[in-house]
Structure formats: structure tokens, C-alpha cells
């Protein structure tokens, strides 16, 4: 069987063209041509009836709308001006896409492949994207909308620049696609990364990996007590956690309560009450997940002795809560999906360091006026971990700065001048 016969070409460059991608050209980040294409895809998605059934597809469409592309471009220019590598500074060094990017999207987040592609296009590259090998309607919808745009005369070129593919776990295919690329982007899972890395990259190619991560939230007890709109906060928290079975790398698993004991007790009751109210009726708890959450509580009790865990029993199994008497880095190993939370309370932020030292820590979500405090503390301590500090409700929002990478800079090269 030929390698290309094992690949299902969903959209864009097909078997006749995929190998020729590296003859195409790289362009500057946020090139008008590529932005026009993404904006056209956005319009197509926003006008698609089937897309409306999928909030994640609509969110992607919204991400690619022209106004947002312009906003991201401006942000990028501001970021790079600081580094004096702006593409707009005439006569200075300039940037171009690295060439061909090859993306391996995660199997369980249907829309992720589209963001990875958009980032690579905005950085000025061609892209080959392996969508999840599982069939998802979201993937079909985005591909259909893109194909419609590529059919237009002014965007025919895009069908040579983008190729969305699907194939099973096949090293031969991964070897081949890796041999074509200048940047390989692996959306994680540590095991996936290890598996894909068995396929060699050309000498000059680079790689961006998104490994298994651990995320947490810091909540100001006093701010909770002041909050009038708990339903909105509960919805935000739900979107950060339960919406993806609390299994996204950005989903908080540890809640760090900041405040005096009295406030925190009251805040916990108010917060979890509101979250429970919101989760109830929305989240379908699989029996196997209920057992896993219970198992996690037992494991924590057995493993982390000094931690003095206390299991908080709720009226049902929707929210699993384990209160920790102290913080240990080993808490990071507990990654039970489906709403299993560790909690720690303190009047000071200092104990955050026991966790944030780990390079596994990705997102610190916050609620209350804590942004600067967490930022200062992270810089002062020089943590290996903590790549994102975002408000609760925003942990899953895709951004071009993600997981410690500036995707535009990492997928483009600087030309010295």
C-alpha cells in the first residue's frame, strides 16, 4: 500500500499536491492575503446553518473574524516592537513563515486542529494538519466551509497552502509528513509526543510540543462574598472544567482559596453551591467517572499522608472535593477527570510555590483582583511552571500566546538585516 493511500485528504492540497507544498512560498506574519482567507472562512462558518449547532465551531469562526485578526495583529506588533523585530519597522530585520508546518491535533478536542492551522497561517506558513482520527462533525463542518472558500477564484491558492488530513496511528505516514515539514506541532499527551518523536525531523526543522499539563485556580474568598452574579461565575467555571470533562490541560484541578478562615468557609459554601446548581442537569456523570473520582479520594488519602486530606461529601457525586491540609508537589499527579478538585486555603499566596515550581503547571486562573499579585509572585520566585495567568472562564480560550509559546514567533524566522 502506498503511503498516500493511507491518508484521507479532507480539505485543501490532496495527494498530488501535498508533497509539493515545500515549493510554495512563505509569507510575512499576518499577511493580508492569508488574513483575507481566514476572514472569508469565518464568514462562511458564521453563515453556516449546521455550524450553529456546535458552539466550538462558532467560537472558532468568531476567532477568525476580521476584527479579531486585526486585534491580534496589533497585539503581535506591540509584542514584537519591544523586541525590535517588528515586520513594520522599515529597514530593520523582518520575519517570514518558516515554510511548511505539520500539526498533530489531539483526538478528543474536535476543533483544536482549526486553531493550530489558523496560527500557522497567521505566522506565514503552509500547513498540513492531521485532524483527530475519530470522526467528528465539527471537523467536517470546518472542512466544508474552507473548501467552499477555496472554490472561489481569489482563494484557489489556499488549496495549495493548506491540507487537512486524517489517518490512523501509522508511523510510516507520520515519517513521511514529518519529512516534509519545517515546524512540527504536537498537541499533547506525553505519550503522543513520545510516539510522534520516533519519526525524525529534517535537520533544520523545529518542534512545538504541548505536553500534559496541570492547571489551577486562585480564588479570593472576599471577592466571592462580594459577588452578586454567582450564576455567571459558575458558568465561567463550568466552561473551564466540566465542559471538557475537566480533562483539558488548562482545566483547574486545584483551587487555592485566598482569605481568612471565616471568609473562606463562607466563600466555599457560596461558590460550590452555585457551581453545583449550574452543573446539575447539564453535566452527565458517567458511572465509571463517579467511581474514578471516589478512587481518587481514596488514593489521595493513602498516598499523601502529610497532606491530611479531608473528603468533602456533597449531596451527589457531581463535585468531588478533597481538602488538603498542606500543599505538596505530588498533588500534580492526581488528574482525575469529570469534576474532581483539590482545595487548599491560606491567607497568603506563598504556598503557591510548592506547586508552581513544577514545569507541569500551565494555567493559573484567578477570581478577584489577583492578577498582578500572581504575576509579581511568579516572577519573584522564577517558577519553571505557570505559562498563563487568566481570569476564571478564560482558561480554554485559544490565544496566539499559548503554553509558554508565542506561536507567531515560534512558527516564523527572523531575517537579520
Amino acid at each position: 500500500m502506498r503511503i498516500k493511500d493511507k491518508i484521507e485528504f479532507l480539505c485543501g492540497a490532496d495527494e498530488g499536491y501535498i508533497g509539493k507544498m515545500n515549493c510554495w512560498q512563505a509569507v510575512a506574519p499576518f499577511s493580508e492575503q492569508y488574513c483575507d482567507f481566514l476572514a472569508a472562512v469565518s464568514e462562511e462558518i458564521m453563515n453556516d446553518l449546521e455550524a450553529r449547532e456546535f458552539p466550538d465551531v462558532v467560537t472558532f469562526g468568531f476567532f477568525c473574524r476580521r476584527a479579531n485578526l486585526q486585534r491580534m495583529k496589533k497585539e503581535y506588533e506591540e509584542r514584537t516592537v519591544v523586541r525590535q523585530v517588528s515586520p513594520v519597522s522599515p529597514g530593520g530585520p523582518y520575519r517570514l513563515g518558516r515554510g511548511v508546518t505539520f500539526h498533530i491535533a489531539p483526538s478528543n478536542v474536535p476543533i483544536n486542529f482549526a486553531y493550530s492551522m489558523a496560527a500557522a497561517l497567521l505566522a506565514g506558513n503552509c500547513c498540513i494538519v492531521r485532524a483527530s482520527s475519530k470522526p467528528f462533525r465539527q471537523v467536517d463542518i470546518v472542512c466544508r466551509c474552507m473548501a467552499a472558500v477555496m472554490d472561489r477564484k481569489e482563494f484557489v491558492w489556499a488549496s495549495l497552502v493548506v491540507s487537512i488530513v486524517r489517518y490512523g496511528h501509522d508511523k510510516e505516514v507520520t515519517d513521511y509528513l514529518s519529512s516534509l515539514c519545517d515546524v512540527r506541532v504536537i498537541w499533547g499527551g506525553d505519550n503522543t509526543i513520545a510516539e510522534i518523536r520516533k519519526s525524525p525531523l529534517p535537520p533544520r526543522s523545529t518542534e512545538i510540543t504541548f505536553a500534559d499539563r496541570y492547571s489551577m485556580a486562585v480564588i479570593s474568598s472576599a471577592a466571592i462574598l462580594r459577588e452578586d452574579n454567582m450564576e455567571r461565575l459558575a458558568r465561567d467555571f463550568y466552561n473551564d472544567t466540566y465542559l471538557y470533562d475537566q480533562n483539558a490541560c488548562s482545566s483547574p484541578r486545584l483551587i487555592y482559596w485566598l482569605g481568612n478562615r471565616e471568609d473562606t468557609e463562607a466563600a466555599k459554601e457560596k461558590f460550590w453551591g452555585a457551581v453545583h446548581e449550574f452543573v446539575k442537569g447539564r453535566y452527565e456523570l458517567a458511572p465509571v467517572v463517579a467511581v474514578e473520582k471516589y478512587m481518587t479520594a481514596c488514593r489521595a488519602a493513602l498516598d499523601i499522608v502529610s497532606f491530611r486530606p479531608r473528603v468533602v461529601l456533597g449531596e451527589d457525586n457531581l463535585i468531588g472535593r478533597i481538602e488538603a491540609g498542606c500543599l505538596k508537589m505530588s498533588i500534580i499527579d492526581y488528574r482525575c477527570p469529570g469534576g474532581s478538585f483539590f482545595e487548599y486555603s491560606s491567607e497568603k499566596i506563598d504556598d503557591l510555590q510548592h506547586i508552581a515550581r513544577s514545569r507541569t503547571v500551565q494555567t493559573v486562573a484567578y477570581y478577584g483582583d489577583l492578577k498582578d499579585m500572581i504575576r509579581e509572585f511568579s516572577i519573584k520566585c522564577g517558577f519553571f511552571g505557570v505559562d498563563r495567568i487568566v481570569p476564571i472562564g478564560k482558561t480554554a480560550d485559544f490565544s496566539l500566546v499559548w503554553d509558554g509559546h508565542d506561536l507567531i514567533l515560534d512558527m516564523s524566522r527572523i531575517v537579520g538585516y
Binding site: I104, A105, P106, S107, N108, V109, N112, S132, S133, K134, H169, W187, G188, G189, D190, N191, T192, E195, I196, F210, L243, Y244, D245, Q246, N247, A248, C249, S251, L285, A286, P287, V288, V289, A290, V291, Y294, M295, A297, C298, R299, A300, A301, L302, V305, P309, R310, V311, L313, E315, D316, N317, L318, I322, P337, G338
Partner: protein, 360 residues
């Protein structure tokens, strides 16, 4: 001290609901205190759940341990020097297995309880016995597999035993013919594992067209239905098929696990699994672990009075089941009767987990 001699003399299906709840609450309450004192791991869990073992109002309230915990931790309430043997659960290749630590007393009590339960089905006398398996399974005694342990546990109910299968899992027709000739007209006890019986006995007999007369046989089989369910073989079909090939009509399934050896749940003439006085079944709603009423499916919790050397007296299984009734089965046995619906399904988890790890 728990008086096991007294307990084990209670006829296994004699106790009705109210009396049994009082009885189990007393024994299981005492066991909870016993393990809390002697098993540090057990104590840590109860402490984490804020459960006080001193004041137990009903055995329904005692925190259950997930069976999987025995795969990941060494849980025992006896010193290593008092451990007589370690039983491991069966597991698919590559999976972790449970390790159950038994002292002499617990091991003996398991045997006694099993004897009481089984002899209420096959009588007190030992019967000529056909083991529907290969002798290879019991050869290595150092580490008991659940299959080996099951055979060793049940073979005491038989005499003049033969293994129906050879080392290669092939049917030993000559041996079988000789055995049946020798014991013509007698009741015969057959034991084996459900899937093995179907694959290596039923299908082999069918294939070669040999139909021995085992109409006076009593068969007890266990080990779960997963593999047969995959082949669309129901309990009914299993019995029918065996009846077709060898004329047997008394075929009893049992439900049990290595983590609670001895206090097995036997199937009755009505096709219902029964809890004996030594154990009980509680079906829990996965949503909140509340007790499911009769007829409602949920996760099976099993309790047993036997585990004394390890804290396995109250367990949450990974099986789903449904209580069919209590004390009123037409077969006349007292206690709860139920059906097992199979393992809880693996859930499709969203999120950016591994694309390779889960072989989607």
C-alpha cells in the same frame, strides 16, 4: 471477637431482611473497627472521609473501598509473618491484579462458607467430579490465579476427580468416557469457568458430535459473562446449549470475586443470583451512591463477613447490577436476589488527552 464458628453454622439462606440487617451491622461494624485498628491504609481512608468506626448504625453506612484499590495497594490487617497465602485476581494480560492477603483463619473461613453455600446445592456428600479445565491451571501453587484458586476451592466437593481438558485445552474424550462409564447412574459434579466451558467443552462436543449422557450432572460455573456476551451468548442460551450436547439440566452460575472469596452468590433454579447470610449486595446509584430500589440498575457494592486479614469486607465493584427482590424468590431462599448486568462502561472523555494512548 467475631465468633466465626457460630456464624458459619447459620444455614446460608435462612435469614430474612430485618434480622439480617441487624446481624450484618453487628459483624461488619466490628470488622470495620478491627481493620481500622490494624490496617493503617484503611484508617487513613476512613479518617479522610471523616467516618467514625465506633458508632455504626447500619452496615449500609460503612464507607466502601473500590476493588481497584487492591490492585494498587498492599492492604492487609495481619503481619506479613501471619500471611498464609496471597490470592491474586484474574486480569486480562497486562492489567494489574489484586493481591489479597490471607491468614490461616480467614482462609479456613472462606472454605467453610463456600462449603455451606455449595452443599446446599449439591448435598453434603462428595460427588464424582469433572473439572472442566486443564490441570495446568493449578500446577503452579506458589501464586494462585483466580481460576486456579476457584478450582482448588471447589474440588473439595468432589471425589474421584478428573480434568476434562488436557494441557493443551483439548477435550480428553477417552478419559471422559471411562469416567462416565464408571459412574453411570450416579450424580456427578461439574465445575469450571463459564467461558472455558463454552469454548472448550460445549463447542468441542458439538464439533465432534459426541453427546455423552450427563443428565444426572450438577454444574457450577463462574467467572463472568463478558466474553460470552461479546459472542451474544446469554445465560439462557448457555444452559440450552449444554443441555443439547450432554443432557445436563442443573446448571448454576455464580458471582464472586477474588477480593471476597468464599461468600459467593449462587444462581438458583429461577436463574437469580442469591446473597447468602455471609454476604450482601447493595446496588448504588452512580450519581450520588444512594441505594437503588428494587429494579433499578446501579453499581454493585458487595459486603462479606469473611475478610478478617484484609480490609475487604465492604467493596465497591466495577460491575453493574440490579436487585430483583428480597426474601421472596420463588425458589424459597431468603435474602436479596439480583442480576449482574456486566462491567461499567468506559466513558468517552473529552479534553486534550492523548491521541495515541487511547487507541481511538
Amino acid at each position: 471477637m467475631i465468633n466465626y464458628d457460630e456464624i458459619l453454622n447459620i444455614p446460608p439462606y435462612s435469614m430474612a431482611c430485618e434480622e439480617k440487617e441487624k446481624f450484618l451491622t453487628e459483624i461488619l461494624g466490628e470488622l470495620t473497627g478491627h481493620h481500622y485498628e490494624r490496617c493503617l491504609e484503611y484508617r487513613r481512608i476512613l479518617d479522610a472521609f471523616g467516618f467514625e468506626p465506633g458508632n455504626i448504625k447500619s452496615y449500609y453506612d460503612i464507607p466502601f473501598l473500590p476493588v481497584r484499590l487492591f490492585k494498587e495497594y498492599e492492604l492487609r490487617s495481619v503481619k506479613s509473618s501471619d500471611t498464609a497465602k496471597i490470592v491474586t485476581s484474574s486480569g486480562t494480560t497486562g492489567q494489574q491484579v489484586s493481591r489479597i492477603y490471607l491468614d490461616k483463619e480467614t482462609s479456613a473461613n472462606q472454605t467453610k462458607a463456600l462449603t455451606k453455600i455449595v452443599s446446599s446445592y449439591i448435598g453434603k456428600n462428595r460427588l464424582p467430579m469433572i473439572i472442566l479445565d486443564s490441570p495446568a491451571v493449578v500446577k503452579d501453587r506458589a501464586m494462585f490465579s483466580a481460576r486456579g484458586a476457584g478450582i482448588l476451592g471447589f474440588q473439595m466437593f468432589g471425589r474421584d476427580r478428573i480434568f476434562a481438558l488436557d494441557e493443551n485445552m483439548e477435550l480428553d474424550i477417552k478419559g471422559l468416557e471411562e469416567f462416565l462409564e464408571k459412574h453411570a447412574g450416579e450424580e456427578i459434579f461439574l465445575f469450571g469457568f463459564t467461558f472455558m466451558i463454552w469454548l472448550h467443552f460445549y463447542e468441542a462436543l458439538k464439533k465432534i458430535g459426541y453427546h455423552p449422557d450427563i443428565s444426572k450432572g450438577i454444574m457450577i460455573h463462574g467467572g463472568g459473562w463478558k466474553k460470552l456476551a461479546d459472542r451474544n451468548i446469554s445465560g439462557e442460551r448457555f444452559k440450552e446449549g449444554l443441555n443439547e450436547v450432554c443432557g445436563i439440566s442443573r446448571v448454576y452460575d455464580y458471582y464472586g470475586m477474588a477480593e471476597q472469596t468464599g461468600s459467593i452468590y449462587m444462581e438458583c433454579e429461577e436463574g437469580h443470583l442469591h446473597a447468602s447470610v455471609f454476604s450482601d449486595i447493595i446496588v448504588r446509584d452512580p450519581f450520588d451512591f444512594s441505594i437503588c430500589p428494587v429494579g433499578k440498575k446501579g453499581i454493585i457494592e458487595t459486603v462479606s463477613v469473611l475478610p478478617h486479614s484484609y480490609p475487604g469486607h465492604v467493596l465497591l465493584t466495577e460491575d453493574e447490577g440490579v436487585i430483583l427482590g428480597e426474601d421472596d424468590c420463588p425458589c424459597g431462599r431468603k435474602g436479596k436476589y439480583f442480576a449482574v448486568c456486566g462491567r461499567i462502561k468506559n466513558a468517552e472523555i473529552r479534553g486534550c488527552s492523548d491521541t495515541y494512548a487511547d487507541k481511538g
